[in-house]
């Protein structure tokens, strides 16, 4: 405590007993893992380095001093010399107390490169006020650099892979759309022109083919949706949820009438989101809410918004009184192509919730689910208020 006050708080260095100051400095320079140096601009060489230089670069202090003015030109990576030269120039322009920093590579005595980060500040000026000596601390950041480079390489690789996959699935689903719609046309034409010549067995086969190709078109559409929402740049605008939901309910009018669904829409605010993606998300969640009801009952669907625990956000909930989902399977249902029900009971592509979660993630949000078998399901997602 006494020493601390003497060294760090004493306004006048003249009053500090020199032995205490010397001991303190010795301890500090011994204990720091970084290289500390005092560089003389006239001789272009280090006049002082602590013991750590030998550890960082494999040279002894004596060897480093012997290299003198050749230290930097000899050991610095040629690619980094311009940055180091600019750094030296910057030191000349420094005001007292300001610090400049630079990253560069130095050759280790064993031949490999060591990444260093130097912080430098003015140590002493000549009579004309020019910087005579500067003091600096150089830290070995090789491990950090290596991790950064690895992370960057991984990121690039992931970007390329994901872009390739996106293009692949996009063109694939696009190319599949055309034959599936042609097949649809052909089968319809077959029924239209020749149904009188088919017996009931032939007709039922054609109807099955039509059902199958319709399922395929839906699948292709969903894959297209998915590829569109993966990694797509968002255009964040104010989106009127009330309007969006009403539009979708119009689209679903036939389905709602067919199932006798009761859809209750609460007061929905404006949010900040990507309009197209919000529409896709709501379409999938509403489609599910209407679809998954027990045979012989009418779907009861509620769309509501409430204040979120997150400030400035609302929580949008789409709930139903449908068949519900086993809590053990809550995670699975968001997996791409995962389906829990037989096609003959509830048809689907296994993509709707994967797309929905992706859209939520694109908005830095998560979809939460409350559901139990027989007790209906409630999907909730947060959005920033507009």
């Amino acid at each position: 405590m006494a020493l601390n006050r003497v060294i760090l708080e004493n306004a006048d260095p003249e009053e500090t007993p020199s032995w205490q100051a010397a001991m303190f400095l010795k301890k500090v320079t011994d204990v720091v893992p970084s290289v500390i140096y005092v560089f003389n601009q006239n001789t272009q060489s280090n006049e002082y380095t602590n013991k750590s230089l030998s550890e960082a670069l494999g040279y002894s202090s004596q060897e480093a001093q012997a290299m003198g003015a050749n230290l930097f030109p000899e050991l610095c990576h040629p690619d980094d010399l311009p940055a180091v030269a600019a750094h030296f120039d910057a030191i000349h322009q420094l005001a007292d107390g300001d610090v400049v920093q630079v990253e560069y590579r130095m050759r280790h005595k064993e031949g490999h490169w060591v990444w260093l980060l130097s912080h430098d500040t003015v140590f002493e000026r000549d009579q004309d006020g020019n910087v005579l000596r500067h003091i600096g601390v150089a830290s070995d950041i090789s491990a950090q650099k290596k991790a950064e480079e690895q992370a960057l390489a991984e990121k690039r690789r992931a970007e390329v892979t994901s872009e390739e996959l996106r293009e692949f699935s996009y063109s694939m689903s696009h190319d599949m759309k055309s034959p599936s719609s042609t097949l649809h046309l052909l089968l319809n034409e077959l029924l239209d022109s020749h149904s009188d010549t088919f017996n009931s067995d032939a007709l039922s086969l054609i109807y099955m083919a039509l059902t199958t190709v319709t399922r395929m078109s839906k699948m292709v559409d969903d894959v297209l949706h998915y590829t569109r929402v993966v990694n797509q740049d968002l255009v964040i605008v104010p989106v009127d949820l009330q309007e969006t939901v009403n539009d979708i309910l119009v689209e679903f009018a036939e389905r709602i009438a067919g199932t006798g669904a009761q859809v209750t829409v609460g007061d929905l605010p404006k949010i900040r989101a990507d309009e197209a993606q919000t529409r896709i998300l709501l379409r999938h969640l509403l489609e599910n809410a209407i679809k998954f009801h027990p045979l012989g009952t009418s779907p009861q669907v509620e769309i509501s918004a409430s204040e979120s625990v997150e400030p400035g956000h609302i929580a949008l909930t789409i709930s139903d009184q449908g068949i519900g989902i086993d809590p053990a399977k809550h995670e699975q249902i968001f997996t791409i192509f995962k389906r829990l029900n037989a096609e003959s009971e509830y048809s689907g592509t296994g993509l709707g919730l994967a797309i929905s979660r992706r859209i939520a993630a694109n908005h830095q949000q998560d979809i939460t689910l409350q559901s139990c078998p027989g007790a209906g399901s409630a999907f909730t997602i947060g959005f920033p208020k507009a």
């Binding site: 199958t212 389906r339 829990l340 037989a342 096609e343 003959s344």
Partner: protein, 138 residues
């Protein structure tokens, strides 16, 4: 094929969630004239119940789809081999649209799985399987 008990496959169990595929299998089985009894399940859990029933005769051949809701082909294999061991059925053949080599490898890691066929099933494939079933029985 002169007598009724000369069908090379006495009982064939088909586990596939696609009911249209099931209907076509039934037609193929009939036309191939190699199958006497056909057990068809769109739900693998019900197939498991059938196998667990001591009153029923085990099939000579099971054709098993992989990608099914509720219980998929692998879950079925795990549950069935745990319950009945390798006595489950002499021959299980995977019948799937999966082109994933991982799926094939995983399927073949089950001792009871003898082959991995890609859909659609043909009459010829069924006849080849009949030969396999008979060579096994001999």
């Amino acid at each position: 094929m002169t007598s009724t008990n000369s069908y090379p496959i006495h009982t064939l169990m088909l586990i596939d969630d696609n009911s249209f595929d099931q209907m076509i299998y039934e037609r193929i089985a009939k036309k191939s004239e190699v199958v006497e009894n056909l057990l068809q399940y769109v739900d693998a859990t019900l197939a498991l119940e059938y196998l667990a029933n001591p009153e029923t005769r085990n099939p000579d051949l099971i054709l098993l789809d992989i990608n099914m809701p509720k219980m998929d082909g692998f879950e079925f294999l795990e549950a069935a081999t745990e319950a009945f061991g390798v006595d489950l059925c002499p021959i299980v053949v995977m019948l799937t649209t999966s082109l994933n080599p991982k799926d094939e490898k995983r399927a073949k890691s089950f001792e009871v799985v003898r082959s991995f066929l890609n859909k659609p099933l043909t009459q010829q494939q069924l006849k080849d399987l009949a030969v396999l079933v008979n060579s096994e029985a001999a």
